[in-house]
Amino acid sequence: MDRRRVQGPETSVVPFPLLDDAAPGVVAPPLQAGKRAGGRRPEDMRPIFLRTGLISQASGSAYIEMGRTKVACAVYGPRQIKKQQGFSEQGRLYCEFKFATFACKKRRNHQRDSQEKEFSQVIVQALTPSIRLEKLPKSVVDIYVTVVENDGTASCLAAAITAASTALADAGVEMIDLVAAASLAYQQRRPEGDAPTGENTREAGAADLVLAQMPSLGDVTHLLHRGPVDWAQMSRAVEQCIDVCAKIHAVMVHSLREHSAAEQ
């Protein structure tokens, strides 16, 4: 009984689809002639829209759209550490990742579940190597990410990392490099760039990969791979992600320049 919100019924369910005998169960369209559902080639990447500075209240912010995946990210800080964790020469990063309740096919809960907490940790791990924390003694930089629409959970995580890094740059936090992240889902035969629809793409045997990289310096800051895949496919997938990261990095640079020029 959550008394801080308007109450609905205790339990509510999504109605079952009307199984009239004519149409078979809706199955993901098979791969025809190398094209995917969205008409994209396996290695193609969905169109990206990245805009900084949309959230005026934040120190820095970024809004990203990769195809239908939409993620908003705000950075507050560097500011005083509220919780008493003792003196620290180094700054700290704190992240809260949240899917909006309407973001996924199945309605999500208001409270953060374990997956969202895990993603918050992943974002902090992916970004910490790139931030010059020694320049921010006794302070914390808070990153808040809200997914407005989820078209592929792996792609949401990648978009969130990219947006968070852009927002940190927009906030003027000193960093050694931006961090671009790309996601990828394996079909049985060939890896496909940029995991498409279906938030839990992990049907039986399917695997996906999220790779976060500092493009200018070339170092990989975070790699999350789930699902069984043989080694050869894995290495090809990593290269493919590196290329996608380069493209994403170009978009990040462009939007940061656009916004800071407009700012003058």
């Binding site: 509510s12 109605p15 079952f16 009307l18 149409a23 949309l54 209240q57 909006a100 996924c104 809200t146």
Partner: protein, 277 residues
């Protein structure tokens, strides 16, 4: 008598907000250049989220609110067996402003949610949300996420909520003998809205000047906040006056007139957004 110490404008605004603001109001202008009764630029686009049954994004100035509608099915309550549910909730998280802390909804979020729920009793047709009396009814969850809080979040939420409801489509559902509800493939059924109701909020500065659509830096300096909700037939549906200042009946009636003008602007926006679907 100006103090001998010079401040940069930005520091003066942080250190002495009320002084900074009073200097502008003395020249009948607001820091962001608006006239007293002028609302900020309002942008509305509906239906931009495919995973929701209905959605809308509203920007009033910098205040940005995203509303998503998700519909599910549940058993109706025993004392109202033939009515569905409408559950609006506002999230004012740490993402939209530095003054909100992580965790469950704070006081402001809860008050806005309660006001949206109270208003919904005037325009939602609850009996049409019932699929089968005493057995099954639609639960329309309307969740509003504020992406940027630059003041006057209630007006933005009500507009986003109405636009999302207009944009929402539910599947045709019926209940089988086995008591299980099944829904059709096509999302065709609309949610009927008896009458569009929209909110307009005003602030009173030192009991005299009436300021429309106060932003985040103005809100703490105003000693009264008046919100008026009107519908298309010039009827009023809610008048709330909060904060400790005093407000005369004439000022209240002035707010009602301005709210009516604001209603025409917003309902035009509402129609155009629904049209281009």
């Amino acid at each position: 008598m100006t103090s001998p110490y010079a401040f940069s404008a930005e520091t003066f605004k942080r250190v002495q907000p009320s002084e900074y603001y009073r200097k502008f109001l003395e020249q009948d202008v607001r820091p962001d250049g608006r006239a007293f009764s002028q609302f900020r630029k309002t942008i509305l686009n509906a239906g931009c989220i495919s995973t929701a049954n209905g959605s809308a994004v509203v920007r009033i100035g910098d205040t940005t609110v995203v509303c998503g509608i998700k519909a599910e099915v549940a058993e109706p309550t025993l004392d109202q067996p033939a009515a569905g549910y409408f559950v609006p909730n506002v999230e004012l998280g740490p993402l939209c402003s530095a003054k909100f802390r992580p965790g469950p909804p704070g006081d402001l979020a809860q008050v806005v949610s309660e006001r949206l729920r109270k208003l919904s009793e005037e325009y939602i047709a609850f009996e049409e949300l019932c699929i089968e009396p005493e057995q099954a009814a639609w639960v329309v969850y309307a969740d509003l996420v504020c992406l940027n809080h630059d003041g006057n979040v209630l007006d933005a939420c009500q507009l986003a909520l109405l636009a999302a409801l207009k944009n929402a489509r539910l599947p045709e559902a019926q209940i089988g003998e086995d008591g299980i509800v099944r829904a059709g493939e096509a999302f065709t059924r609309a949610i009927t809205i008896k009458r569009p109701i929209l909110a307009a909020t005003f602030g009173l500065y030192e009991g005299r000047s009436l300021l429309a659509d106060p932003n985040a830096s103005e809100e703490p300096l105003l000693d009264s906040l008046v919100t008026v909700c009107v519908d298309d037939a010039e009827h009023l549906h809610a008048v709330w006056k909060s904060n400790g200042g005093r407000c005369s009946l004439e000022q209240l009636q002035r707010c009602v007139e301005l709210a009516r003008i604001r209603f025409t602007e917003l309902s035009a926006l509402l129609e155009s957004s629904a049209a281009d679907q």
